[in-house]
Symmetry: C2
Subunit: 241 residues, 2 copies
């Protein structure tokens, strides 16, 4: 048994359904025919974290202290790596990562690497994400140097009337309403020339999937899940049996 | 923020998909319109636990030490309660619960209470579960006194050719094959007079749901999820704001 090796810590709860979606994508990314071949995971799904978008707008408390407290549960539980399936929470990455003292994988970097790999330098990507992720420039500002990725963003009205209420509907469990709000924005980005859609909020792939989107999608949740599984399997194989 | 209160610890990984199914059923059982209204959860999904059915048969190592180690991660992460979404693992309940030193809710008791409540004393229940859960008498032996619940079990051939390979197919991620193996056994129990089906292995509700079953179902996973949410909400409301 190697139960102490390669334990992935998931700093979740932002939101709870997105946490489950991430865990499912880790399972799907693992070649396994029995329980024992799956990757060991500990999860802290503590949803009592102040709203990230409200904090960025200056309209609410900082989520940082609660994120650190939640992440410390993963340290205490023996995680060897921390991943955080919430894009907007990555605005606090620079303070969070050193406070936990464990290696972390960055969700946005995982998505951008997949974008470059699949669509090549200079690709035009449409971004669906929260108001705070968009307004902070989180995706464009982390674009790999030389990749030449081009960005298309929703308009302010599409954000206020489509994307933000769509994300809130996922958090409230109303997936049908969420899809009805988000899909028209995806279609608008397609009309304006996007070659692929970055699902840059972990609530969004719960309602917009590769099969039901007007464009190919880059699912940041899935990109991070694949990297987390690869990390764990590498830890396992690095140790003599 | 009440992030330290009412934290449910999920001793999972047996198997990983069943753990996610349990977490989803906790979310569905929670009245919440935002992240922050959901219940705080920590999860230890460490699948490197010896096969429970093989151990019961005397054909494999005991899973107890790995279950205790996984449960201690929940203690370390600050859980106030432990639940374990794996029926067969409850065969080691009497040793596990004192080793963790936290209150636990028993999955089988949750399912049996729901059976009595919905179908009344003397109801005839068909049981779908692993070979070890069936052979240990886990369900009949915990039947509440005076409930008069009557049990119908699969035949030995149905177990070997339908139920056990069906459960293994879920663990390998092949849900279509799993349903094809499990559904005929459910139908056989219906023909023999069962009034309701107890889904007494947490892999089974991934492929047999209320909508697609030949009989009403008692989903042990869902019954436990509801009790775990009720425990957490009661903890939260018991403390002055």
């Amino acid at each position: 048994m190697s139960e102490g090796l390669g334990v992935v810590g998931v700093l979740g709860g932002m939101g709870p359904l997105a946490t489950i979606d991430f865990m499912r994508k880790m399972i799907e990314a693992t070649p396994a025919a029995s329980d024992q071949e799956h990757v060991p995971v500990v999860v802290s799904s503590i949803p009592q974290v102040a709203d990230r978008t409200a904090a960025f707008r200056g309209e609410g408390d900082s989520p940082l202290a609660a994120m650190v407290a939640s992440g410390r549960r993963l340290v205490d539980a023996g995680a060897g790596l921390v991943v955080m399936p919430c894009n907007t929470a990555h605005l606090w990455w620079d303070a969070l990562a050193p406070a936990l003292g464990l290696p972390m994988l960055h969700l946005v970097d995982a998505a951008l690497a997949e974008g470059v790999e699949r669509f090549g330098a200079g690709a035009r990507l449409g971004l669906l994400a929260t108001d705070a992720t968009i307004a902070s420039g989180l995706y464009p500002n982390r674009t790999p140097a030389g990749s030449g990725l081009q960005w298309l963003l929703p308009t302010a009205a599409e954000m206020l009337q489509g994307v933000m209420p769509g994300i809130a509907a996922v958090k409230a469990g109303d997936l049908t309403a969420a899809r009805g709000l988000l899909l028209p924005v995806a279609e608008a980005l397609a009309r304006r020339g996007a070659q692929a859609l970055v699902l840059g909020c972990t609530e969004i792939p719960l309602v917009i999937t590769a099969a039901g989107a007007p464009l190919p999608v880059i699912d940041a949740t899935q990109a991070l899940a694949r990297r987390a599984v690869a990390w764990s399997l590498a830890q396992r194989s690095a140790v003599p049996a």
